[in-house]
Amino acid sequence: MNDKLRSFIEAAGWPRVIIGLFLLSLFVAAPFVGVRVDTSLSDTLVRVGMNGVMVLALVPMVQSGCGLNFGLPLGIIAGLVGAVTSIEMDVRGLPGFLVAMAIAIALAVVLGYAYGLLLNRVKGDEMMIATYVGFSSVALMCMAWLLLPYKSPNMIWGYGGSGLRTTISVQGYWLKVLSDFMSFNVGPYFYFPTGMFLFFALMCFLMWAFFKTKTGTAMTAVGSNPEFARACGIDVDRMRIVSVVLSTVFGAIGILVYQQSFGFIQLYMGPFYMAFPAVAAILLGGASVNKASLLNVIVGTFLFQGILTMTPSVINSIMQTDMSEVIRIIVSNGMILYALTRKVQVKR
C-alpha cells in the first residue's frame, strides 16, 4: 500500500499533490465559513469550461518541442478581431458566434504561420521570444483598436465617435450561446453549462484525434527527440510551424468560448497576461516543458480554476481580507518556476 502511494506521489509530483490536498481542504472548510459548496462547485465548473480550450491550445507546441506558448496572446488577438468584426456585421445568436469563429480561425492561421516561421529561426530560446512577441502584438493591437474604422454603436466610445471601447458587451449577440445549450440547474445555486462543456469535449476530441494521425504522431516524435525525427525523414521545421498554427487557432477559439460565457470582450491590455494562467494550469496538471497530454489539461484546469474560485471566498471569509490576487500570483508563478527549474526527467 505504501509503495503504491509513494509511486503515485512520485509520478504526480509533490507540488501537485500539495495543491490538490489544499483544494480539497478548501472545499471541506467551505461550509464551515459560510460558503456554499454547490455555488463554489458550479463556479469552478463554469470557469473550467471557459478556460479549458485556451489551456488545450498549449498542447501542440509543447508536444512539438517549441516549449510553453507564452505567445498565446497572438491567438487571442485573432479571436478578438473575429468577435468585434462579427458584432460590426451585426450577426446575432449562434450564427454570430460561428461567423466570429470563422474569421478568427482564418486570421489565426495567418498569424500562426508567421509566428511559426519566427520561432524556427530561434530554436532554443522560444519561450522568451514568445513572451515578447505576445506583448508587442497586444501593444500593436492597442493602436489598432483605436484606429479601426468600425462603427457599431455597441462598441464605439460614447463621445468622440471613433475607436473601440475597452470592454464590449456581447449581450444581445451571442451571450452564453454555448453555455445555455442544454444547460440545467440543480437548485437555485448550481448551474451547469452543458453546451460549453460539450464544446470543450469536442475540442478535446479533435485534439486527441489529431495526435492519432500520421502528422500528429510525427509531431510528438519531434518534441520527444528531434534528431530521431529528422533521421526518420520528418521535416522538423514544418512540424513546428503546424504546431504553432494549431496552437494559435485553438487560442482564438478559446477566447471566444471564454467571452460567450464571461459576457464581455476585453480589448486593449486585456489579453496581455492571459498566457500565464493557461501555462500555470497545464503545468499544474502535470505537463512538462516538452510533454503535455489531455489529462494534464483537464486536471490542471480544474485544479487551477478551483484554487482561483475557492481561495478568495474561503480565505476571505476566514481572514476577513481579500488575499485572492496575491495567492493567485504566488501559486501560478510558483508552478511555472518549478517546471522551469526541473532537470529534464525521463520519468513521466
Binding site: 484525434a209 492519432k212 494521425t213 500520421k214 502528422t215 500528429g216 504522431t217 510525427a218 510528438t220 516524435a221 520527444s224 527527440n225 534528431e227 530521431f228 529528422r230 533521421a231 526518420c232 525523414g233 520528418i234 521535416d235 510533454k291 525521463v346 513521466r348
Partner: protein
C-alpha cells in the same frame, strides 16, 4: 636521455567497470626526458589508462583501479584532475579547452593569473585582486618560447589557426611551473603536415629540457619519428613495450590488431555469389564533427556484407550518416544506378535504404515512447504502413493494433526482454534497445541496410544474436548490408569485404579473410619506412 630513476612507473594497473574488465596487468616505466608512444585500437584501453593516471572522478566513482602508480618515486593515487595537475602531470585532450574570446595569454593562464593586491580584498574576496597583465604576458611569452613556436600572446583564440590553438593548449600545461610529465592525446589530429612537424619539433625541445612525454597517436610515422619507446595496448593488455629503434612497422601493426584466428561464422563450403553493383559512392565528403569524411569512394555489390573499419575519429562513422542525410554531405551516391539526393533523410529512406545509427539513445530511439512506436515509426512515416485512411484518404489514422501486432512479432523474433510492446524504450537494457533499433530498420524491408557499431555496449549473448540476425536477413532476404564497426574481428567474422578509413579517406579495401595485421597497417596512416625494415637506427 633516460636517467636512472623513472619518473613514472605503472605496476599491474587494471580497471573493471561493473564486471566488464577493460584494463589488466598494465606495467611500464617512463624516464625523465623520455618520449613514449602509446598505440592501440579503440577500446584497447588507452583512454581508460589516461583517465586513471589523470585522476578522473569516474574512475573513483566506479570502484577505483587495481595496481600501483609511482610518480617521481612515490606512490600516488589521484582522486581528481586537480591533484594530478598539482603533482606535475599535464594533459592536453583532443577537444580544445579554450575560451574563444580570450587572448592566448588569458587562455594560457586561465584561473592561474598573476594578480596584484588591493584594499578591497580585505573587505570582500580574494578574487578581487587585479590582474597583473604585464607579468601575465611575460609568463605566456616564456611558455610559448619554450615550445619554440611563434605566437603573438595577444591574439584572440577565435582568430587563431587550428595549429596555434593546439600550441596554446600545450603552452598552458608548460606554464605550470612544476609540470614534469605531459600527456598528449592525438595532438596532431587537426594539424596540417607542416604544423605537425612544428609540433613534433616543439615536443622534442621539451623532452630535451627534461620533460617526459606520453604521446598517443595513431599516425605511426609520427610515433616513429618522435618517440624513444613504444607501448602497444590491445584488449586492455600491454602487448609489447619496446624501444622504437628495435622494431619494424609490420611488427607494430601485428601487435595492435592481431588476435587468435577466431572461428569464422561462415559456413563450411559456403560459396558466396553477389549481384551487380547496388551502391556506388564517389568522392563523398561529410561534415560530421569528430568523424569528418574528406573523399571516399567505394562500391558495394548486391547481397554483399560490406564492412567499414578504422580507428575512432578517422571518419568511418561519417560515411553512413552522410549517405542517409543526417549530416551535411556532398559527392555522388547512386543506388541501383539512380542518383541519390544527399542532405535529404526522407529521400534516402524512400529510395530503399535504412540506417541503424551508432547513437542509439540520441538518434535511434524515442526513449519516452513505447517499443511499438519505436519499431513502427519509420515505416509509418515513409511507407504509410500501420495507417488506416479515413474519410476517403483525408485523415491518416494511426492503426495502433497493427503496430502492437508487429511489435509482438519482432519481440519474439529477436528475443527482446521486455514487459510488453508498450514498455518505454528507456527502460530496456542496451542490448534490447539495439534490437529495437534493428527491428525498426527491418520493418521497412530496405534494399541496403547501414548498421553502425551494432554491438557497442551490449552483452555477449545479445552481440551474437544481433550478428546472427544480420546474417540471416542477408542470406534469406538478400538485403545488402554495410556495417561500420571499430571492432575489426567482428567485421572479419561476418563481412565479405572490409574497407579501412583513415583521415577521412579509404586507405584500402581487402577481403575479410586477409590477415589482421594488413588491416592494422592500413589503419596507421602513411608510413615512409618500409614495413619490413627497422623503423630507425638505434643510437
Amino acid at each position: 636521455m633516460a636517467s636512472n630513476e623513472p619518473i613514472l612507473r605503472l605496476e599491474h594497473v587494471g580497471k573493471e567497470y561493473f564486471g566488464n574488465r577493460v584494463l589488466s596487468d598494465v606495467s611500464f616505466t617512463l624516464g625523465p626526458g623520455e618520449i613514449m608512444g602509446l598505440v592501440g585500437e579503440n577500446g584497447a584501453g588507452k583512454t581508460t589508462l589516461m583517465k586513471i593516471l589523470f585522476g578522473m572522478p569516474v574512475i573513483h566513482q566506479t570502484g577505483g583501479y587495481d595496481g600501483k602508480i609511482f610518480f617521481e618515486g612515490r606512490e600516488v593515487s589521484f582522486k581528481s584532475p586537480f591533484e594530478a595537475l598539482d603533482a606535475g602531470i599535464g594533459m592536453v585532450h583532443q577537444e580544445f579547452s579554450l575560451i574563444p574570446g580570450f587572448t592566448a595569454t588569458e587562455n594560457i593562464l586561465l584561473n592561474r593569473e598573476s594578480t596584484r593586491y588591493n584594499l578591497l580584498v580585505e573587505v570582500f574576496d580574494d578574487r578581487l585582486r587585479t590582474l597583473d597583465r604585464p607579468v601575465m604576458r611575460q609568463r605566456a611569452q616564456r611558455a610559448i618560447s619554450t615550445l619554440g613556436v611563434e605566437i603573438d600572446p595577444d591574439t584572440l583564440c577565435s582568430e587563431m589557426p587550428v595549429g596555434h590553438k593546439q600550441f596554446t593548449e600545450i603552452a598552458r600545461e608548460i606554464d605550470r611551473s612544476n609540470t614534469k610529465l605531459l600527456v598528449l592525446d592525438e595532438p596532431t589530429a587537426v594539424l596540417t603536415e607542416s604544423e605537425a612537424e612544428i609540433l613534433i619539433k616543439a615536443v622534442r625541445n621539451l623532452a630535451a629540457k627534461g620533460m617526459s612525454v606520453i604521446f598517443i597517436s595513431h599516425r605511426l610515422q609520427e610515433v616513429i619519428d618522435l618517440c624513444d619507446k613504444i607501448v602497444v595496448l590491445r584488449d586492455g593488455h600491454v602487448v609489447q613495450e619496446a624501444k622504437t629503434c628495435d622494431v619494424t612497422v609490420r611488427q607494430i601493426a601485428g601487435w595492435m590488431v592481431g588476435r587468435k584466428v577466431e572461428e569464422s561464422h561462415r559456413e563450411e563450403g559456403e560459396v558466396r555469389s553477389f549481384g551487380p553493383t547496388i551502391l556506388s559512392v564517389r568522392n563523398l565528403w561529410v561534415d560530421m564533427p569528430g568523424e569528418t569524411v574528406r573523399d571516399v569512394s567505394f562500391q558495394v555489390r548486391q547481397g554483399e556484407i560490406f564492412g567499414i573499419g578504422g580507428l575512432a575519429g578517422q571518419g568511418k562513422l561519417g560515411i553512413a550518416n552522410g549517405i542517409m542525410g543526417l549530416y551535411p554531405a556532398g559527392g555522388a551516391v547512386e543506388l541501383n544506378g539512380k542518383p541519390i539526393r544527399l542532405n535529404d533523410p526522407e529521400g534516402s529512406l524512400r529510395a530503399g535504404m535504412a540506417f541503424v545509427s551508432e547513437d542509439r539513445r540520441g538518434v535511434g530511439l524515442l526513449l519516452d515512447e513505447g517499443i511499438d512506436w519505436n519499431m513502427a515509426f519509420t515505416a509509418m512515416q515513409i511507407q504509410e504502413k500501420f495507417i488506416r485512411p479515413l474519410l476517403g484518404g483525408l485523415v491518416k489514422w494511426r492503426d495502433d493494433r497493427a503496430i502492437e501486432e508487429c511489435a509482438n512479432e519482432y519481440i519474439k523474433a529477436l528475443e527482446i526482454k521486455c514487459t510488453g510492446p508498450k514498455q518505454r524504450a528507456v527502460e530496456l537494457s542496451g542490448g534490447n534497445q539495439q534490437k529495437v533499433c534493428l527491428a525498426k530498420a527491418f520493418v521497412v524491408r530496405p534494399e541496403v541496410l547501414f548498421v553502425s557499431e551494432p554491438t557497442r555496449g551490449i552483452d555477449v549473448g545479445a552481440k551474437k544474436l544481433v550478428l546472427d540476425t544480420l546474417r540471416r536477413y542477408n542470406r534469406e532476404y538478400g538485403t545488402t548490408i554495410v556495417m561500420t564497426s571499430s571492432e575489426l574481428e567482428e567485421l572479419r567474422s561476418i563481412c565479405d569485404r572490409i574497407a579501412i578509413v583513415d583521415e577521412g579517406r579509404i586507405a584500402g579495401v581487402l577481403p575479410a579473410q586477409t590477415p589482421s595485421e594488413e588491416f592494422g597497417l592500413l589503419m596507421m596512416g602513411e608510413i615512409k619506412v618500409s614495413t619490413e625494415e627497422k623503423v630507425k637506427a638505434c643510437e
